[in-house]
């Protein structure tokens, strides 16, 4: 019996700008919006897998994506998390862009998919908390929407109080929030702590690590403490630095407790109930012999879910994502963690001992 696979991180794309504009609120149709291809740091040679430049924009044709993931790739479910193209100054406009992306996703990908294997993300704009809550309320009832999506890029870390109504709304509907590096060149600070990267690898290697500041603030500001149902997915990985930095967060807690006494346990104790990661091509020891032992630090085996990143150039196959892991770790990473986290019950072939 082959191993089930849930791919928790796939980016569907627009064919061209007009496709998005079709869904924009009429009151905003006079506005310029970021190009659907715009990137902050574009990968030299293209952002996508070389074999996907076949005339159509990579990731823009549902039938092609379905064939490559499901028929050829052995994937059972794919969670679609479309990108937006940057935080923009007019936060209301950006919310309309998110709404248009969501309507497009529903029409072109979710409702049109008779195989019921595509799942979706409700994109919202954290800079417009009221609008974000309204958007979650509008679409949370759609049976294929399994999470809320926000950009990694932000001018304040997500533990800060202005965002709390959004996380509360998502948790109220049982929806985790996926944080993902978005495209576009937005109203944002430089991507590294030391300024702009001067090479593409300097950007691509560092950018995912910014999740830690979001995570640390969600713990220290008490968001997880106040909302037992709040769950976050860091969709670009970065769990390679989780252990060293959580160790720091744990260590300093004993000294800092009186400043933030609402943090009533070691910070790492919040991870199991509140945090997951999508797997990444950049995370983990380069020697597969170390992979299994390494994954057990900070119980990462329970926190990481396979996410291909399709159609990105760094797309990882399920086979590569589990290299060096033991059978139990493989099962968790490929489907068990995601199956539990997203409550994907209807995989009829998910039985004991089904690892291939």
């Amino acid at each position: 019996m082959r191993t089930p696979v849930i791919d928790t991180n796939v980016q569907p794309h627009f064919r061209y700008n007009a496709e998005l504009r079709k869904f924009i609120d009429p009151a905003y149709k006079t506005r310029a919006i970021p190009d659907v291809e715009q990137q902050w740091y574009q990968a030299p040679g293209g952002d996508y897998r070389a074999d996907l430049y076949d005339g159509k924009y990579p990731g823009s044709v549902p039938e092609t994506v379905a064939r490559q993931l499901f028929s050829e790739g052995g994937v059972d479910y794919a969670i679609l998390n479309p990108l937006t193209r940057g935080n923009i100054a007019d936060y209301l406009l950006n919310s309309r862009i998110c709404a248009a992306v969501n309507d497009w996703l529903v029409e072109r990908w979710l409702d049109a998919d008779v195989s019921d294997r595509f799942l979706g993300t409700i994109r919202v704009n954290p800079e417009d908390p009221r609008g974000a809550v309204a958007e979650i309320e509008r679409l949370a009832g759609h049976p294929k929407m399994v999470q809320v999506g926000v950009p990694m890029q932000s001018r304040e870390p997500y533990g800060k109080p202005m965002f709390e109504p959004i996380w509360e709304a998502a948790a109220g509907f049982g929806l985790p929030v996926a944080v993902h590096v978005n495209g576009g060149n937005g109203v944002d600070y430089a991507p590294t702590f030391a300024g702009h990267a001067h090479t593409y690898p300097g950007y691509a290697a560092f950018m995912p690590l910014n999740y830690f500041v979001h995570l640390a603030t969600l713990i220290v500001e008490g968001t997880f403490g106040r909302h037992p149902g709040a769950r976050f997915v860091f969709a670009d990985g970065g769990y390679d630095i989780l252990t060293p930095l959580m160790w720091r967060l744990d260590t300093f807690w004993v000294s800092m407790r009186d400043q933030t006494p609402w943090v009533d346990r070691y910070p790492s104790e919040y991870l199991a109930d509140h945090v997951r990661f999508c797997s990444s091509a950049f995370d983990g020891p380069t020697d597969p012999a170390d992979a299994s032992r390494w994954m057990d630090f900070t119980n990462k085996s329970d926190l990481v879910m396979y996410g291909s990143g399709y159609p990105h150039w760094s797309t990882t196959s399920p086979h590569d994502a589990v290299e060096g892991l033991d059978p139990e770790q493989r099962a968790k990473l490929l489907w068990r963690n995601a199956g539990d986290f997203y409550n994907i019950q209807s995989l009829t072939h998910l039985t004991e001992g089904s690892d291939a």
Binding site: W253, V254, S255, R257, D258, W262, Y266
Partner: protein, 118 residues
Amino acid sequence: MQRRRVCGIDELPPGTMKLVPAGKFGVGVYNVGGKFYAIANYCAHEGAPLCTGFVGGTNVHAPDRPGQLMFVRDGEIVRCPWHQWEFDLTNGHTLADPTRKIRTYRVDVDDGEVYVTA
């Protein structure tokens, strides 16, 4: 372990501490609001001289108050002079993680004299 005289009770008024040369690092005897407690002068973390740390209170979460905090237990908490771990003088537990604790010793007062068994 032996019962040792610390001082006359008048020499240890509330809010003060006397360091007794018992054991390898010494024992601090504290008068907390008229009650006496004794702790090892050795932090459970890295061995700092705990009794040189400040004694004060601590904060609890008070969600209905502006500032979200309420100051409580003044005089009952000693903070390690190095990493400022908070220790409950009355039982030796770290406030953050009660499983981390320091050695405590029995103090008794007899006929105006303070004794510690250390």
